[in-house]
């Protein structure tokens, strides 16, 4: 109980600003390969951002840097007021405050759906198992699969698995949600159920960064669309302007190819 109240009351504390994420001059290399080039990006609280671009453009790397699944060599990333460069402590805090959904779901196959959802709240947040279970059931309800709680991930369809993954992330009460191509591994008929879940989440005011090629989703929920190519942010703008009158040649080419 106390855990929850302290989190809530300190929510505005480190983030005295309205910024959920700021990236400043971020550079990353994989050996010789320059994966992120001077990325500067700010995300306001409650903002919904869609990041698109050709494969290998660095978009996944970009959002994986936000919860430090990837380290950076140069620049500064501040998430919810915590500087990721300030040491392990702030990285831990940031990981608790950000939820992530992966292309390949990455559910824990040896645990039931419910256990998948309760493990981190119990072990990381220290909530009681009864409370964690109640929270998990609430979120499974919200992603519309409460009846699957006692099944194992392998018994579910891809769309259901991804919705479990979203519920699992939400059980940690994150302030920011990161989506790394959440619908790319799904059969076409299952894409919609996952997107609908994400749209619900967006309508509740969650700060979201989504790497996705679902342009319909981008039009519908994004406050801002970012186009990346070869490790750079080439263009960004409100979806209306971005889709109707892209400024850059590369953006036009990309949009021409995917539509």
């Amino acid at each position: 109980m106390t855990e929850v109240t302290t989190t809530a009351s300190t929510a505005g504390m480190p983030g005295t600003s309205d910024l959920a994420v700021t990236m400043n001059g971020v550079n990353k290399w994989y050996g010789q390969f320059h994966a992120l080039k001077d990325i500067t990006l700010t995300v306001a609280r409650g903002e919904r951002i869609v990041i698109c671009g050709p494969s290998g453009s660095g978009k996944s790397t970009l959002i994986r840097c936000i919860n430090r699944l990837e380290s950076i060599q140069k620049g500064k990333i501040v998430v919810d007021g915590h500087d990721l460069g300030a040491g392990a402590k702030s990285v831990d805090v940031v990981r608790q405050e950000t939820g992530m959904v992966f292309q390949s779901f990455n559910l824990f196959p040896h645990m039931t759906v419910l256990e998948n959802c309760t493990l981190a709240p119990i072990k990381v947040r220290g909530v009681s198992s009864a409370e964690a279970e109640a929270t998990a059931r609430k979120f499974l309800e919200r992603v519309r699969i409460p009846e699957q709680a006692d099944k194992y991930p392998a018994q579910l369809s891809g769309g259901q698995q991804q919705r479990v993954a979203i519920a699992r992330a939400l059980c940690m009460n994150p302030k920011i949600m990161l989506f790394d191509e959440p619908t790319s591994a799904l059969d076409p008929e299952m894409v919609k159920e996952v997107l609908d879940t994400m749209i619900d989440l967006a309508s509740e005011g969650m700060t979201m960064l989504c790497v996705t090629h679902e342009m319909g989703f981008a039009r519908q929920v994004a406050d801002r669309v970012i186009f990346m190519d070869q490790g750079e942010i080439v263009e960004e703008g409100a979806p209306e302007a971005f889709f109707s009158s892209p400024k850059h040649e590369r953006t036009r080419n990309f949009l021409g190819q995917i539509s």
């Binding site: 831990d92 992966f102 390949s104 040896h110 981190a120 990381v124 699992r168 992330a169 940690m172």
Partner: protein, 218 residues
């Protein structure tokens, strides 16, 4: 005095199997703990630990078990400890098993898809909890079959302890053979007992392997 190889002699050899089993059990238990540490060091983020683990594994994989037994047995004497075949055989086989199980289990830990570690990390789980709840439970399933396979090797390997004077199955066979001079009967019996110990384990390993491959293909 040559005595014939009879029921009594047979029973003496059979009874010696308990020491083979006891030594195998000690080596397997010790090697289990050591192997887990070696495997964790081998996949650690800390470079010196990794190098240390690799060095340990290479030394024990690259030298004969008999030499390892000799070095521990005679080495204890040099360091001023009383020569004791029990202690020497236990230490040598434990180190041996630690190196091999460590390398087997490293492979199993690395066989868990990287997405599992990433998902656990993204949820805020730290190293110990990640290993304990996510990585090791999955690695264990993969590890069961090769681990049982190694246990068979280990049981057969204990026969070398006979050379440093540890009275287990093989050594008891030598002693009985010295009295009966019927080596074919004696060592035939000894071999049969090893077979009875190892064959069910091999079958078990095979069964688990099949079950595992069935459960991972979907």
């Amino acid at each position: 005095m040559i005595r014939p190889f009879g029921w009594n002699e047979f029973l003496i050899i059979v009874m010696a199997a308990q020491w083979t089993i006891a030594l195998s059990a000690i080596a397997f238990a010790g090697g289990g703990i050591g192997g887990l540490l070696v495997a964790l060091a081998r996949v650690s983020d800390i470079r010196p630990l990794r190098i240390l683990a690799v060095g340990f594994i290479r030394v024990f994989q690259g030298t004969p078990l008999l030499m390892q037994l000799f070095l521990v047995f005679f080495g204890m004497n040099i360091f001023g400890l009383a020569i004791n075949p029990w202690v020497a055989a236990s230490i040598a086989l434990t180190l041996h098993a630690s190196a091999f199980l460590g390398e087997i289990w490293r492979g199993c830990v690395e066989a868990v898809p990287p997405g599992q570690r990433e998902a656990a990390t993204a949820l805020g789980l730290k190293y110990v909890n990640r290993m304990r709840y996510i990585i090791l439970p999955q690695a264990t399933r993969i590890a069961v079959a090769p681990t049982v396979g190694f246990l068979v090797q280990l049981i057969k390997g204990t026969s070398l302890a006979a050379i440093i004077g540890f009275t287990e199955l093989t050594r008891q066979g030598q002693i009985i053979n010295n009295a009966t001079f019927s080596p074919f009967m004696v060592f035939g019996t000894v071999a049969a007992i090893y077979f009875v110990l190892c064959w069910p384990l091999s079958l078990l390993a095979r069964r688990m392997e099949v079950r595992f491959s069935r459960s991972t293909q979907r």
